[in-house]
């Protein structure tokens, strides 16, 4: 089975978010980038488990700049066989999806996996867009994935429950919690990752559908008002009369 895992970078989860140039772009000074957790913990690790059980290859693909090679090497250290980097600083989700979709044409991937969303833009868009461009089925928020005889059996979250679906490959899946457990790369993996193939591909032309023009930080919270733990009537009163939420 040929599996493609879409890997994005994301700022480390403890990053203090700040903006630069009159709040028009994310301030990257001092920011540590990681592999987007959903891409790594769920999509990549499940792809590796499927490969280990059934054979095949796991390739990662990233639309990013040369500095992103560090997180791509991390994915290789966890166990991907090879990596593709489309050499561009992505402008929006469609740009990313379009580059990945164009790259995959004619390459015979059975599964294209993404994380359910990135933790910086939270759009959960790339998977669905790739599926549409390639006219493939798309299943989002999958929490379990098995592939038997060219058919993917997938559990995914739906409103108020879980659905179990069966879809023939090839298809695109976005991976959510439950799909796999995080793997820590070992020293052998880290050493091997240095020499695994990382192919740089130039992007194709693509229009920008949306632009993030400016960012704002949420207004800072007013001071916490403490309520005596023996006086819950006061708290209920405040929630009713002052905050008007009950």
């Amino acid at each position: 089975m040929k599996i493609l895992v879409c890997i994005s970078k994301a700022p480390d989860t403890t990053t203090k978010i700040a903006f630069a140039d009159n709040n028009t772009r994310f301030n990257e000074v001092g920011v540590q980038y990681i592999v987007n957790p959903y891409d790594e913990w769920y999509a990549l690790v499940r792809a590796l488990e499927l490969k280990e059980a059934q054979g095949g290859t796991v390739t990662t693909i990233t639309v990013g700049i040369a500095a992103d090679d560090a997180i791509i090497r991390k994915a290789l250290a966890i166990g991907a066989d090879d990596a593709i980097r489309i050499n561009a600083d992505p402008k929006d989700a469609y740009y990313t999806a379009f580059q990945i979709a164009e790259f995959t044409k004619g390459k015979g991937f059975d599964l294209i996996l993404t994380g359910k969303e990135t933790i910086n833009y939270n759009g959960s868009q790339v998977g669905g867009m790739i599926a549409e461009i390639l006219s493939l089925p798309f299943v989002s928020l999958a929490s379990k994935l098995e592939v038997v005889n060219g058919k993917a059996k997938i559990a995914c979250e739906v409103a108020g429950g879980v659905e179990v679906l069966e879809v023939p490959t090839p298809l695109v899946i976005s991976a959510a919690k439950g799909m796999a457990e995080q793997r820590i790369p070992n020293m052998r993996g880290i050493m091997a990752a240095r020499t695994k193939p990382l192919t740089v591909v130039e992007p194709v032309a693509c229009e920008e559908l949306v632009t993030f023009e400016v960012y704002e930080l949420p207004p800072s919270k007013s001071e916490c008002r403490y309520v005596d733990p023996s006086n819950m009537a006061e708290l209920v009163g405040l929630l009713h009369t002052q905050s008007k939420v009950i």
């Binding site: 957790p37 833009y121 867009m129 659905e163 949306v210 960012y215 403490y226």
Partner: protein
């Protein structure tokens, strides 16, 4: 500026998120609702109260294949000449909006938290709720998926004209083998009141007092990541950066220290109450109201006071 709002009903009672999408659309332009699901014509007509002028209903499509829903919406966009498509940012909206964006080559504003401003920019949550980004759409048609509980709605007295809408949505390769429903629970992503607890509860056997409080309030229950990871609570209850992000009117956090990753998922809440034994818990800095005390004593008291309040109001 005609607006197409896609909704999916599960009964004659529409979810609040559905009504919000219709009302949101009506604040932009004349609204045509495109509906699938079992809601009766009368119920659909009542969407006029929230600003719908017309409702197109496709009775034939029952699947939740985002590819088919996307084909349906694309057909309706062209037949109505709509320039804005609104969907609720629920599980289906999340999978349909991006497909539709690629199909129509129309910019998508995913997870909108407000109406377009004077220059057409729309605010969305980014960095898992730690910031807001303003998005400009560069295409003639735009798609907006609206985060539940982001706008206030008001009801009028109009009714909408209901018409059948048929089109071929193409075949589906997705077959549903099984559906496991969680019955009788309030869905967390659109809950207005949420009671959430963490490791401070010391064990899954102590969740009864959390559930009692939630029941008294009519709230959904949630939890922190460690609690979901060790299996005390189901994963779908996990709120935070790697769980789900919510923005209820009231979020009560019990025995949760308030790590930055947890705050990311809940800091869109209008009012936050923190109950913790540790006065140094970082969550108090993000709280509107704080109670320094033992959950095992405070919760039963709070539940009693809520019941008393509910019986008087």
């Amino acid at each position: 500026m005609s607006v197409l709002v896609y909704i999916r009903s599960i009964s004659d009672n529409f979810s609040k998120a559905t009504l919000e999408s219709v009302f949101y659309g009506s604040q932009i332009g004349p609204v045509t609702v495109l509906a699938i699901g079992p809601a009766s014509d009368d119920a659909l007509s009542s969407l006029g109260k929230y600003g719908a002028q017309k409702v197109l209903v496709h009775r034939g499509l029952t699947s939740s294949d985002p590819g088919q829903i996307c084909a349906l919406i694309a057909t309706a966009v062209s037949s109505t000449g709509s320039s804005t498509v609104v969907l609720s940012h629920d599980l289906i909206g999340r999978s349909v909006a991006p497909r539709l964006s690629a199909k129509l080559k129309a910019g998508a504003v995913i997870g909108a938290v407000g109406l377009p401003d004077g220059s057409g920019k729309i605010s969305v949550n980014v960095f898992s709720g730690k910031a807001v980004g303003k998005v400009r759409v560069n295409t003639a048609v735009r798609i907006i998926s609206l985060t539940p509980n982001s706008i206030q709605i008001t009801a009028g007295s109009n009714s909408a004209k209901v018409e059948a809408f048929d089109c071929d949505c193409g075949p589906s390769k997705i077959s549903v083998l099984e559906v496991k429903k969680q019955e009788g629970e309030i869905l967390l992503p659109e809950a207005e009141l949420v009671v959430s607890a963490g490791r401070g509860m010391k064990g899954p056997e102590h969740w009864g007092i959390v559930e009692n409080l939630a029941k008294a309030l009519g709230a959904a229950t949630a939890c922190s990541r460690p609690v979901a990871d060790i299996g005390w609570r189901p994963h779908h209850e996990h709120v935070g950066q790697t769980g789900i992000a919510i923005r209820p009117n009231l979020y009560i956090a019990i025995g949760i220290s308030g790590a930055i990753q947890h705050l990311a998922g809940v800091n869109g809440s209008k009012v936050i109450v923190v109950i913790n034994t540790d006065p140094e818990a970082p969550f108090f800095k993000a709280a509107d109201y704080g109670v320094i005390g033992d959950a095992f004593e405070v919760l039963p008291r709070l539940t009693e006071e809520i019941k008393k309040f509910k019986s008087q109001n």
